[in-house]
């Protein structure tokens, strides 16, 4: 494939990183400060968009910035898998920026400058990982994201927030140093390079007579090391991180951080090990069953959560494992469904988190049991919630249906009927934890105090509009799946 030397991916990473300076300097003028955030978000999205045409022409845009040690370089390469991730994250950053402004100002949060600075930094890290050309570069951005999001989680500066942030840091930094780094070193020892290769970096060197035990251990280290994918038993940082302000939970814990986790899993499976090596070793099937366990268990735990954000968090854990299971099926439809689900889940879940934030701002309610009859007062928000929830349950005409369709098809293609059952049971469980919310909000009786309370009203427009846009996207993707699937097909061309 043709390789174009270009600094465009570097600019995409640097836009938000350099926006930190004007954001910090204009800390005494909130309107100007937010202007910089929005500007950076839009510029970033445009830069990422500009990377689509060369990709469609079959060219690869990339650059090797510098070689740190022999075989280890710091470089970027844009392929369609990374582009899907980057497009999604940078688009949702624009919406989340508007939403954040509404949210932070309504609640009169402290230290908003630090918040926006860290948000910009997190986005740089996310895009950096999306465009990383090798494991080393990806590892740097993986760690950078952890560090940038720490202040966001600790934002409230209460004991609970610090506790959540500490658990977050210990889980993510701990596993990445203890497992992911040795896995990367092992890969380097085996292959002498860390570049992502179509069809698998290790597959190319497998003929050298690497023992299969070594490869299996290596894979286990990778999976344990990528705690951002929240596969059980390394999931409990996610519910604890929910102490963060809701826009953070929305963008970072439904899109950027957790999606980076599954994205790295995809990279490892498809570009480091490769489909053939995975199936030869039989670890794909093992991972599929291992992650199915997370799908079911997390859904069951979600049933019991009364706190809205905790329920969404466990739902996220469950949905992330859909993606992991999808790719570990190693069949065409499975991988396709897995990548599609990254996008679909991002849009659906961010809608739900936006809704949770709107509830917090509009009603100061944090528990499902308090929502009785709330739809009368907040009809728009509840309608938006319904769209997101039904999409995650997997009903047409919402995009969640598409990805589940592919995932089911993929599990049958791979001949793993039990996995198909897991998907079906999990859909049922999803319905069990989402439908009650819809039911009590619409049909429950509103309590007399809430009825009279004139403070309970729809969230400000700054928040409602982004919510409407994401909800619309959830429906649009169902009718026009081509926007996403054409890129996915491009990504899978070199693999299957």
């Amino acid at each position: 494939m043709e390789m174009i030397q270009s600094l465009t991916p570097v600019y995409a990473v640097l836009v938000s990183l350099s926006a930190i300076i004007p954001i910090y300097l204009s800390r005494n003028n909130p309107n100007l400060r937010e202007f910089w955030t929005i500007l950076a978000a839009i510029v970033k999205f445009i830069i990422v968009l500009s990377l689509i045409p060369p990709l469609l022409k079959g060219q690869t845009v990339g650059i090797n910035l510098f070689e740190i040690l022999p075989g280890i370089s710091f470089g970027f390469r844009v392929d369609s898998l990374g582009l899907i991730f980057a497009l999604m994250a940078s688009f949702l950053w624009i919406l989340t920026s508007f939403y954040s402004i509404g949210y932070m100002r309504s609640l009169k949060e402290h230290n908003q400058t630090r918040y926006f600075v860290c948000f910009a930094g997190s986005l740089s890290a996310t895009i950096g990982a999306a465009f990383a050309a090798n494991l080393f570069t990806m590892y740097i951005f993986y760690e950078a994201l952890t560090l940038f999001t720490y202040p966001l989680i600790a934002h409230e500066e209460t004991d609970e927030a610090f506790r959540g942030a500490r658990i977050y840091l210990i889980y993510l930094l701990g596993t990445s140093i203890a497992f992911l780094l040795p896995a990367i070193i092992g890969t380097y020892l085996a292959a002498g390079s860390l570049e992502f290769v179509n069809g698998g970096l290790l597959a190319a060197t497998a003929s050298k007579g690497l023992s299969s035990t070594f490869l299996v251990v290596l894979f286990a280290l990778f999976i344990l090391g990528i705690a951002k994918a929240a596969i059980m038993p390394l999931h409990s940082w996610l519910p604890n991180a929910m102490v963060a302000p809701t826009p953070v939970s929305a963008l970072l814990h439904a899109v950027a951080v957790v999606k980076m986790g599954v994205f790295v899993v995809l990279r490892v499976v498809l570009y480091v090990f490769g489909i053939d090596l995975m199936s030869a070793l039989g670890i794909g099937t093992f991972l599929a069953y291992f992650a199915s366990f997370t799908i079911l268990l997390a859904s069951i735990i979600a049933l019991r959560q009364d706190n809205i954000k905790a329920r969404l968090a466990y739902s996220t854990i469950s949905q992330l494992s859909y993606i992991v299971v999808g790719v570990s099926l190693l069949s065409l439809s499975g991988v396709k469904g897995s990548i599609l689900h990254i996008v679909v889940h991002a849009f659906s879940k961010i809608t739900l988190f936006f809704w949770a934030g709107a509830m917090a701002v509009g009603t100061h309610k944090k528990y499902v049991s308090q929502l009785s009859g709330i739809a009368k007062k907040m009809p728009v928000s509840m309608a938006i919630f319904t769209v997101g929830a039904l999409s995650l349950i997997g009903l047409p005409p919402f995009s969640g249906f598409l990805s589940k369709w592919y995932l089911l098809k993929g599990s049958l293609e791979a001949g793993l009927v039990p996995i198909a059952f897991v998907f079906m049971i999990s859909s049922f469980l999803n319905a069990c934890y989402f439908l009650p919310i819809i039911y009590i909000a619409y049909f429950g009786k509103i309590s007399p105090e809430d009825e009279k309370d004139s403070h309970i009203k729809e969230a400000p427009k700054m928040m409602l509009v982004p919510m409407c846009i994401t909800a619309t996207m959830v429906i649009l993707i169902f009718f026009f799946p081509g926007i996403v699937t054409s890129l996915i097909d491009l990504a899978l061309n070199g693999i299957f």
Binding site: F66, I68, L69, F74, F136, Y139, I140, E143, L147, P151, A154, E157, F162, L169, L173, G174, I177, A178, L181, P182, I185, G186, Y188, L189
Partner: protein
């Protein structure tokens, strides 16, 4: 003129210090600040000379310089190869930056009248270390070791707290024990071979490794040097010495003194004792790796429980010495290069960290971790530097900490010492914990009313700039690691290739 400098460069690197140490008090008589410039010029000169030596031995063969023209077994020989000229450059660079740093901090920490004496002793302290590095004569090594140690005791005692005297006394006792052990070892070796020149010793010791005399000599030398290096559990002098000495001395010592002792051990292990299979079935390499592993973990674990920043850094230094030992003990090119790189990297990181700690002390006269709450607001630049250095200590890629750990792990995997890998990773985690605690206090806690006792409003530029240079280098050499990596790889090749039993 230039000719004179180039031919006599090896001895000049030492002589400048002796002259500097003599001139500093003389100039101090005329004007106090002249002694500062004397120290500055001396260290700068020695840095230039060391770098010149490094380049010349990197491109050509090792240099041999005969003092007074006496041939080796009779006279003292200075021998410069890549290994010691690399460390020479590190030591002189760190000492040069420390002097710049001292311009601001010494004024507030040491009585005005003692400044000339301080600089004089400081130059002896550094000069002694340079002597250890450059000489090829084992008794000469002992002499320089005593010079640097005695100067060190005096420097620590110049700290302003009452504990400084205790710390100095403690170090005096233990340091003397260590030096005496080293001397006894030298005595036994002399008894066996009748020579003190290292090259000569290496040849004459062949075939005598099984004699008890040599075994005892080795035992004394290793234990003595490990005391000087502060290897766990012989580390008791170090935390107090680093904590209660003046900020400049903590910074300079952390970057140099234990590393020079480590160099001594490395040099003796490789050049005269066969580290791997030299004698009587003792797995020298394995023993040192086990000791180093314990040191790494113990240093990191004890560091977690410290309440004083400087003490925490001191325990962290103990752990980091383990990295240098573990890398060099594996007898593998990459691991050795990693250990050598860690001498440079740790010197930069830890010196800069002590400099930042000194900055906190300068402003608030306290280095208690609990007193550092909210410093991110009050001293944003210093706190940001601390954050970068912490990341480097943990070993995050794009910082120097990553480079040396990478090479040590690579070497461990190649030579089959798999046990080293979890030790290093675990200690990285522990490092993240104890630095995370401090960073948390700096950035996420509100300052308490108690630290309103601000001593100075502003930190002088001399302190900030010298620290900033080191922080910049921590990132620069983390990204563009080629130069130090190539130098240390070549040094590793040379030293491993020249081992006597091969």
């Amino acid at each position: 003129m230039i000719d004179f400098f180039t031919t006599h460069a090896p001895v000049l690197t030492i002589v400048v210090f002796i002259f500097g140490a003599l001139l500093a008090p003389v100039f101090g008589r005329i004007n106090n600040s002249l002694s500062y410039y004397c120290a500055l010029i001396t260290t700068a000169l020695s840095f230039v000379l060391s770098v010149y030596l490094l380049f010349s031995v990197y491109n050509n063969a090792p240099l041999e310089y005969l003092l007074g023209g006496w041939k080796p077994p009779y006279g003292i020989e200075y021998r410069v190869d890549i290994l010691n000229s690399f460390i020479l450059s590190v030591v002189s660079f760190v000492s040069f930056l420390s002097v710049i740093y001292g311009y601001g901090s010494i004024k507030s920490e040491i009585y005005e009248k003692r400044h000339p004496a301080f600089y004089s002793v400081y130059l002896l302290f550094i000069g002694g270390m340079m002597g250890i590095l450059i000489t090829n004569d084992i008794f000469n090594m002992y002499v320089f070791l005593e010079i640097t140690s005695l100067a060190g005791y005096a420097l620590i005692a110049m700290g302003r707290t009452r504990y400084s005297y205790m710390a100095s006394f403690n170090y005096l006792i233990l340091g003397s024990v260590g030096a005496t052990f080293f001397l006894i070892g030298i005595g036994y070796l002399y008894m066996q071979t009748g020579t003190l020149n290292l090259t000569d010793l290496a040849q004459r010791l062949q075939g005598h490794f099984d004699t008890n005399v040599v075994l005892v000599a080795i035992a004394f030398i290793v234990v003595g040097l490990m005391l000087k290096m502060a290897v766990f559990p012989l580390h008791f002098w170090l935390p107090d010495a680093y904590t209660y000495s003046p900020s400049v001395i903590s910074a300079a010592m952390a970057g140099t003194s234990t590393k020079v002792a480590a160099y001594l051990l490395i040099r003796l292990m490789y050049t005269i004792f066969g580290i791997q299979a030299g004698f009587s079935g003792i797995n020298f390499s394995g023993i040192i790796i086990v000791i180093a592993s314990i040191t790494i973990l113990a240093g990191s674990i004890i560091a977690i429980s410290q309440t004083d920043l400087k003490k925490m850094l001191a325990f962290s230094s103990i752990g980091q010495i383990g990295y240098i030992l573990i890398g060099t003990a594996m007898v593998n090119k990459y691991a050795f290069a990693g250990g050598l790189l860690h001498i440079l990297n740790h010197a930069m990181m830890k010196t800069a960290l002590f400099m930042v700690a000194g900055g906190f002390f300068y402003k608030f006269t306290s280095t208690k971790i609990n007193d550092l709450k909210g410093m991110g607001r009050q001293m944003p630049f210093a706190s940001a530097m601390f954050l970068i250095l912490s990341l480097s200590m943990v070993g995050i890629p794009l910082t120097v900490g990553f480079i040396s750990k990478w090479y040590i792990i690579l070497g461990a995997a190649q030579s089959g010492y798999w046990i080293v890998v979890p030790v290093i990773l675990l200690s990285s985690l522990l490092t993240a914990i104890y630095f995370g605690r401090v960073v948390h206090n700096l950035f996420f806690k509100d300052s308490e009313a108690s630290n309103t006792g601000i001593l100075h409003a502003k930190i002088p530029y001399s302190m900030v700039s010298s620290t900033a240079v080191l922080v910049f280098l921590c990132i620069f050499f983390g990204v563009f690691a080629y130069m130090p990596v190539e130098i240390s790889l070549k040094a590793a090749e040379n030293i491993i290739g020249a081992m006597p039993w091969k």
